[in-house]
């Protein structure tokens, strides 16, 4: 999975927000608010990666159980695909 071009992720006052830019701003309105894990995964998936790679990356970055990391990754990937952020 890979996140489509046309989004920027920035930190505003400690909140991680994603907003659409350019052509993307015509089809997608509003903004997305990400937590720390979400923000890490967003950055990770700006390049093409598999679920397994994302789980490994999360485990390398955070002290978290593998099942939990996998559940996070799966939920993140499903949300992004379902809402048209990723391809």
């Amino acid at each position: 999975m890979k996140i489509k071009k046309g989004f920027i992720l920035r930190n505003v006052g400690g909140e991680c927000v994603v907003v659409p830019v350019g052509e993307m701003s015509k089809s997608f309105h509003g903004m997305i608010n990400l937590n720390e894990t979400g923000s890490f995964l967003w950055n990770f998936f700006t390049a093409e990666h598999t679920a397994d790679e994302a789980v490994a990356a999360l485990l390398g970055e955070y002290d978290v159980a593998e099942e939990l990391a996998r559940a996070d990754v799966e939920r993140f990937m499903e949300t992004l695909t379902k809402n048209g952020f990723a391809e």
């Binding site: 920027i8 505003v12 006052g13 400690g14 659409p20 830019v21 350019g22």
Partner: protein, 239 residues
């Protein structure tokens, strides 16, 4: 014609006379020196606004589109539009925010009645400017339907989100709480450079300027509660 807006020289390209009259107090005495940017209605935006503001004159619609076009270009010049009412008291500027109908006009109106020397810089759509340390708010010709405001610049010392309530209470908001409330009150450009810059400026705004949420009734007591908290001074009713 060139206008002095938010300490910028802005060349406005309007077809209808509405904007010429609307901006006449801001007309620059110097029409010869170079300008900083051009503000002109975007054709697509003009078409959309005609649908959104059906029944209004083309001059009025063009005028809305000109300001939007101007504001979308401002972030790269360290400026941004904020949907708020700016009031100055004792040399400090305060921004009052809230969805339309929350009572920005009513609450700021109570300040004008009760706080010595207070006045409205811009009742609805001020431009903010960020230098190295401070944030300033400017009056512009665009100041909402009630037309409250003047040609002024004030250092911004607090943001106050208004909420109608049965009792008057005030509390501080953290930068992250402020960020989430702020997004509906700013204009986010679609080009990457200005969008990016807008988010940077929003980050600076929530870090630099203390923010409060005021639960308020329509009363002098609401002004007292707010004034005491945000100015740190003792409230004294205007004589």
């Amino acid at each position: 014609m060139i206008y002095d807006l938010a300490d910028l020289r802005v060349l406005i390209r309007n077809e209808y006379p509405f904007t010429t009259r609307f901006c006449e107090k801001y007309l620059s005495e110097d029409q010869e020196s170079p300008y900083d940017l051009i503000a002109a209605p975007d054709p697509e935006d003009f078409e959309n606004e005609q649908k959104a503001s059906a029944g209004y004159s083309l001059g009025y619609i063009e005028n809305i589109c000109i300001y939007r076009n101007l504001c979308l270009q401002l972030p790269s010049l360290n400026r941004m539009l904020l949907h708020a009412a700016i009031l100055e008291a004792d040399g400090a500027g305060y921004a009052f925010l809230g969805r339309s109908g929350t009572g920005k006009s009513t609450h700021t109106g109570l300040w004008l009645e009760n706080v010595e020397g207070s006045y409205i810089v811009n009742g609805d759509k001020p431009v903010l400017f960020f230098d190295e340390k401070e944030v300033y708010a400017y009056g512009t010709p665009w100041m909402g339907k009630e037309g409250r405001g003047c040609k002024a610049k004030t250092p911004l010392k607090a943001l106050v989100f208004l909420e109608q309530a049965k009792e008057n209470t005030i509390r501080r908001l953290s930068p992250s709480e402020t960020a989430m409330r702020l997004f509906s009150q700013i204009l986010l450009p679609s080009d990457e450079k200005n969008a990016d810059k807008t988010l940077m400026l929003a980050d600076e705004l929530v870090k630099r300027v203390p923010t409060w949420v005021l639960g308020c009734t329509i009363s002098e007591e609401a002004v007292k509660t707010c004034y005491t908290a945000i100015t740190g001074k003792k409230y004294q009713k205007k004589q």
